[in-house]
Amino acid sequence: MRRSDRIRLDEAVALRRERFGALAYSYRDRQLLFIDRRLLPFVSSDGGRPVGEIADELIDRGDLQEDAVPHLMTVLEGLRRKGIVHVVV
């Protein structure tokens, strides 16, 4: 996933906040996924801002380590491949 990508949840996916982050449930294929709290600002951004911008803000606030960003992008890419999130075009 590129820093300039904007993402939104698939319309068939519901997100429920939990203490560890959130549970995502896809009504399309009945997948249940655990969403780590560090991913929440990205998956709930509704395509409003590029993921790189969200990451920068989290780093500035001290909520995210800079060296964790590549891994987060890989995880987001995995969610995209599973159809949980889409890149807004």
Binding site: A14, R16, E18, F20, L23, Y25, Y27, R30, L32, F34
Partner: protein, 359 residues
């Protein structure tokens, strides 16, 4: 963090919420978990049931597992399911198939968020009907054909027993050959299941073979039913933990909330939705708080497989008179405790199919 550590202390709402909508059933299967047969006079009314669905929607319950009794015996069944779907709650319902007609099959196929599982406890009438009642194999098969005819990918739920174990491959072929998906679940000594437990539970050898069979059939669903078998090696697909009161609960036809559908016993009743909101019961009932705080103690804690099975099924222990700190009665490391014959006479006979009890 493992899924066990993540889920052990509970969630804001259940992942797996079973709703037994009625005790009415036109069958009387010998292993019925809820000892169903007659409708209870004080079952939730339509208005109460709709309000309960509204509450679940507010809690963002993703889907409900609807059972009974026979759910289709409830005259307002479709109204309630439509209500759930309108509130974006997916429906997975279990049926014996006898009341599923073409109109029902069409309605099911027309929805996006309904899953149906038809109960079938053998690949032949001889094996199935001894457990579920004469003629039920053909009724279930007809229901499968109706759903397949509508292009709907149904599921078949099979409670695997020592009598049906050798038919697993045949059942798999039957179900997948009709475009369906097989789900196998564990026999529990709950409800009428207590009376047939020793006659129908798998032998230890069958349990070991089942574990291997499931490992080679990843498309077969289990509903996390056999996590006690994960002690044998690589964990089976699923969360592999007892979710009672943590991620699972059951609401019975009267609105009583239990820790799981397999422990419909006073000790595991957390409250009633006529007296307190479901959300309040789920979040704050003393029973559920205790279950979320407890760990299995005893011998299991020093077992090398504890991290894979976490002590097994609470219901199986409770209804066999074991302590909740004892190993699961079907622990793979425990010795065989009874005869290994696969044709032990059943102490119960399933009642023949009867007309649907009317309200």
């Amino acid at each position: 963090m493992s899924s066990y550590e993540t889920l052990h202390h509970g969630l804001s709402a259940p992942i797996c919420l079973t709703w037994e909508v009625t005790y009415a059933c036109n069958l009387a299967c010998v292993h019925c978990l809820s000892s169903s047969g007659k409708r209870a006079p004080d079952e939730l009314t339509t208005a109460e049931a709709r309000a309960l669905i509204d509450e679940w929607a507010a809690m963002q319950v993703f889907y409900i597992n609807v059972g009974g009794g026979e759910p289709l015996a409830r005259p307002d069944f479709f109204e309630l399911m439509e209500h759930a779907l309108e509130r974006r709650i997916g429906v997975k319902f279990s049926t014996n198939g006898t009341l599923l007609d073409r109109a029902a099959a069409r309605w099911i196929a027309s929805t996006d968020y309904v899953d149906v599982q038809i109960s079938l406890d053998g690949a032949s009438p001889e094996v199935n009907d001894a457990i579920r009642g004469r003629g039920t194999f053909q009724h279930a098969r007809r229901a499968m054909e109706l759903l397949a005819g509508e292009g709907f990918r149904f599921k078949v739920n099979h409670v695997v027993t020592r009598r049906s174990f050798d038919q697993l491959d045949a059942l798999y072929e039957l179900v997948t050959g009709m475009g369906g998906q097989l789900r196998v679940t564990r026999l529990r000594p709950s409800g009428r299941g207590a009376a047939v437990w020793h006659a129908l539970k798998l032998t230890q050898e069958q349990n070991r073979r089942l574990y291997a069979w499931l490992r080679t059939h990843p498309d077969v669903l289990t509903g996390d039913s056999f996590f006690h078998l994960s002690a044998l090696g690589a964990p089976l697909d699923g969360l592999n933990l007892c979710g009672a009161g943590r991620i699972v609960c059951c609401v019975d036809p009267r609105g009583d909330v239990y820790a799981c559908p397999f422990v419909l016993a006073p000790e595991f009743r957390a409250g009633n939705v006529r007296e307190r909101s479901f959300a309040s019961i789920w979040r704050d009932s003393p029973l559920f708080r205790r279950l979320r705080a407890r760990e299995v103690e005893g011998r299991c804690r020093s077992c090398g497989a504890y991290g894979r099975c976490h002590g097994g099924c609470m219901a199986a222990k409770h209804f066999t008179g074991a302590s909740l700190d004892d190993p699961d009665p079907e622990c793979v490391f425990e010795p065989e405790t009874g005869p290994t014959s696969t044709l032990i006479p059943l102490p119960l006979t399933p009642r023949p199919l009867r007309p649907v009890p009317l309200r």
